[in-house]
């Protein structure tokens, strides 16, 4: 009996071994060729879209638009958001998974611009084309394209809006302002801030604009993670430290986006101060309401639908084996190469032109009536 068992087991083991050997497909054969170089790919190929965590309306909207747009174009798609608890590691894993699944194009809205180069490199090696969406990915020569709004221009428009808004309230300076910038791990934060400073700096140097707290550089003004609570906490502290005593009034706040703008307004309100001129960006529903109610001064209309549509156009061009259209081949240096970019123009929106700016937007147009 025992003998029977041991021989049965030996046979079984041998079978298992053989099975494991035969199942060992190598991925080395016929690999290493640089796919994605102008040959196009199948019409129903998989397109991966990796977006940051759902912290702003914009990303949620973009995800939905990508899904419907790619579906209409006949592609298979995989649209993923990073989780909120460890976004960088999660996004890295998601991009790797898309690569494994053989995605032909991977569109990435980066969580951290500098921490994806390993994954982008792997994606490229496996034959995928990598497009950075809205946020430039730095430190890798394997990034193929960049699609975004002209963010330096966004900053300039914000700076100009701040000045215009303050002039409308109080014809002559000096005006007292506070500055906020975005998350330091987002490549765009610096671009917005520098754009705004491009307009504000001359007036600050002349003394027409005074930064009340003296916090003028990007480290001091940063809002970690683009989080509303961080902006609100900082504004609370600024109000206590600078505007509580001594009769200084706050005329304006440069805010890089709508979420932060509302947090700043919230902080000012709860301190019982008059609301200053606050800029914004993204045309979020709540902020458009706030602008119409006369609280927030301005926002920027970066039509997410246009940006997504432009990205999908690129994917279609790549599918057909064509070179996608770009309109800027010198501005966006990611520290490894100058990335061919397609830039869309942003539009500044205040109460005065809101109805006109959002006329085509089914969600925002009714709010401006």
């Amino acid at each position: 009996m025992r003998k029977f068992y041991s021989s049965a087991m030996a046979v079984g083991t041998a079978a298992l071994l053989a099975l494991s050997m035969s199942a060992c497909g190598s991925e080395r054969d016929g690999d290493g060729d640089d796919a994605g170089s102008g040959k196009g790919f199948k019409k129903d190929a998989l397109i991966g879209v990796a977006l940051p965590s759902k912290t702003s309306e914009n990303w949620v909207l973009a995800g939905g638009l990508f899904e419907s747009g790619l579906k209409d174009a006949g592609f298979k798609f995989d649209v993923q958001y990073a989780n909120a608890s460890s976004p960088v590691a999660d996004q890295q894993a998601q991009i790797t998974a898309m690569t494994t699944k053989g995605a032909k194009v991977i569109v990435i809205g980066a969580t951290d611009a500098a921490q994806l180069s390993t994954q982008v490199e792997a994606a490229k090696k496996s034959g995928a084309v990598v497009i950075a969406y809205d946020r430039l990915i730095t430190g890798t020569k394997d990034l193929d394209y960049y699609v975004a709004f002209d963010n330096f221009k966004v900053g300039q428009l914000q700076g100009q809006a701040l000045i215009d808004g303050m002039k409308a309230k109080k014809a002559t300076g000096p005006w007292t302002v506070e500055l906020f910038s975005g998350s330091p791990d987002d490549n765009n934060s610096g671009v917005f801030f520098n754009g705004a400073m491009d307009v504000l700096k001359p007036l600050i140097d002349k003394g027409d604009i005074v930064v009340g707290s003296g916090q003028k550089d990007i480290q001091q003004t940063a809002t970690q993670g683009w989080k509303a609570e961080n902006a609100q906490t900082r504004m609370d502290s600024l109000l206590t430290s600078t505007y509580n005593t001594g009769g200084k009034t706050l005329d304006g706040v440069l805010s890089p986006n709508d979420t932060l703008a509302r947090a700043i307004i919230q902080s000012v309100k709860s301190a019982g101060k008059p609301i200053p001129v606050v800029t914004g960006q993204d045309s979020e529903v709540e902020s458009v309401k706030s602008i119409m109610a006369g609280e927030q001064y301005s926002t920027i209309n970066k039509d997410t639908r246009k940006l997504v549509a432009e990205t999908i156009n690129m994917v279609k061009a790549l599918q057909g084996g064509n070179e996608p259209t770009v309109n800027d081949t010198k501005s966006y240096d990611n520290k490894a190469k100058v990335v061919p970019s397609f830039l869309l123009p942003p539009v500044i929106v205040t109460k005065a032109n809101a109805a006109q700016a959002y006329a085509d937007d089914p969600k925002l147009a009714p709010l401006t009536k």
Partner: protein
């Protein structure tokens, strides 16, 4: 029936024979098979296995240290922050002060040791609960990371990136496989065979010890060798330029070394003694403070290593590094069968626990599940895995934790009642995972 029992007893636990890991390994296999089918075979492709190893390496390194901390009856909440802090210090040292990266790694480990000594001092010599000390450490070193790094992302050079995203090089004749990986697999096979036959020899020589039946040894060897060979060819057959990741090798070395330490040395057994009953251990001559100091310090050193590997993999050190890593490591340890009250648990269990979570996440991502649902599923899985075990224990059935609690129980194959009972246990065992 007794044969099934023998098989189960001996197949997975090595010569110390224990069924406790059986449940978790069974779950792991079930999860792998499920996703292998659901993803049309993507789960076990070379690319994916390599990615899994790289994604899981740093969390698994943390769970080695966390297992020892939890066995000693403590907890460490600061590991993510310590990892992030070390990451930024090393990145700054290498890029801004032009220190060669191998020295940068030594600096990183040194920083980890200093932090560990600091935290260990409060825990072991002042008697502040580890929960509080490391909660403070979590804030302290997260803030330190942002203070030093200005919350910026700092890129590290190519050489350093090797420890997180590097592979064994392609050398030797063209075999269509990565030769060093093949060699490594072969060495492991030889080591496993030698170990098995040595263990048999020892048991045969020991008086009163019953050697594992030969056929069980053979089956165990067969299964192990098949798995190793399968993995070897998979890792060696990845895309040109990839092979077994260097971070995986670092992890493997640590697992072997720490498993030996916790199982076979007096120092390692002291950790279990302290966690099981600190007073009794102290009265038996265990140097309580030294053990507590050691586990806390060791944890921070491993955390610093994990931090550096992550930075190397990400090619940069950023302000969000290490967020919530402590929770992943703690989850892995508990899924692997450690007890919340301390004194129980094994390193291999923690690694398997971590693997289950990693395969689960990876599989869900491969089939395109959103991050929101992945988190929900992982949360429920953690709860279910531990709850099932605890419930079974309270019902007197097979239990991972329960079987750990009676390490001295002798099997009595001569007793037919016990045998029948035991075999009934076995039938339920697979479901216990």
């Amino acid at each position: 029936m007794s044969r099934i029992k023998e098989l189960q007893k001996n197949l997975f636990g090595g010569s110390t024979s224990n069924a406790r890991q059986f449940g978790m390994i069974f779950t792991l296999i079930a999860v792998i098979v499920y996703f292998q089918v659901r993803t049309d075979g993507l789960t076990l492709t070379p690319t994916n296995l390599i990615a899994l190893t790289q994604q899981g390496a740093y969390i698994s390194i943390l769970s080695i240290g966390m297992l020892m901390v939890i066995v000693a009856g403590h907890i460490d909440l600061s590991v993510g922050s310590v990892a992030a802090f070390t990451g930024i210090v090393v990145a700054k040292a290498i890029t801004e002060n032009d220190i060669p990266w191998p020295i940068g790694i030594l600096i990183g480990l040194g920083v980890g040791a200093l932090i560990g000594a600091f935290q260990g001092f409060w825990v072991a010599y002042i008697g502040v609960p580890a929960f509080i000390v490391t909660l403070a450490g979590m804030l302290l070193f997260r803030g330190g990371n942002q203070y030093i790094g200005n919350a910026e992302t700092i890129t590290v050079p190519k050489g350093f990136q090797k420890i997180g995203s590097g592979y064994l090089p392609d050398i030797g004749p063209e075999t269509n496989y990565n030769n060093p990986t093949l060699l490594l697999g072969l060495l492991i096979c030889v080591a496993v065979v030698i170990r098995e036959f040595r263990a048999r020899k020892v048991r045969q020589q020991m008086e009163g010890a019953e050697p594992t039946p030969l056929w069980v040894s053979l089956v165990r060897l067969g299964v192990l060798l098949a798995v190793i060979l399968f993995a070897t060819f998979r890792f060696a057959g990845g895309r040109v330029g990839t092979s077994f990741p260097i971070s995986g090798i670092i992890l493997a070395v640590l697992v072997v070394a720490y498993s030996f330490y916790t199982r076979n040395t007096a120092g390692g057994r002291h950790i279990y003694a302290v966690g099981g009953n600190a007073r009794a251990a102290e009265l038996s001559g265990v140097k309580l403070r030294r053990v507590n100091f050691f586990v806390m310090m060791n944890m921070s050193i491993l955390a610093s290593l994990a931090g550096m590997i992550f930075v190397a993999r990400s090619a940069a050190s950023g302000p969000q590094d290490g967020l919530n890593w402590e929770l992943d490591a703690i989850a892995a340890v508990f899924i692997g069968g450690a007890a919340v009250s301390g004194g129980l648990g094994t390193i291999s269990g923690a690694i398997v626990g971590g693997l289950v979570m990693a395969v689960l996440t990876n599989g869900l991502q491969l089939i395109g599940t959103g991050a929101d649902k992945v988190q929900i599923i992982k949360g429920l899985f953690l709860l279910a895995a531990v709850a099932f075990d605890v419930y079974n224990k309270s019902q007197g059935r097979f239990s991972i934790v329960g079987s750990l609690m009676r390490p001295f129980r002798r099997d009595t194959p001569a007793d037919p009642v016990a045998l029948a009972e035991a075999s009934r246990e076995e039938e339920k065992a697979p479901a216990a995972g």
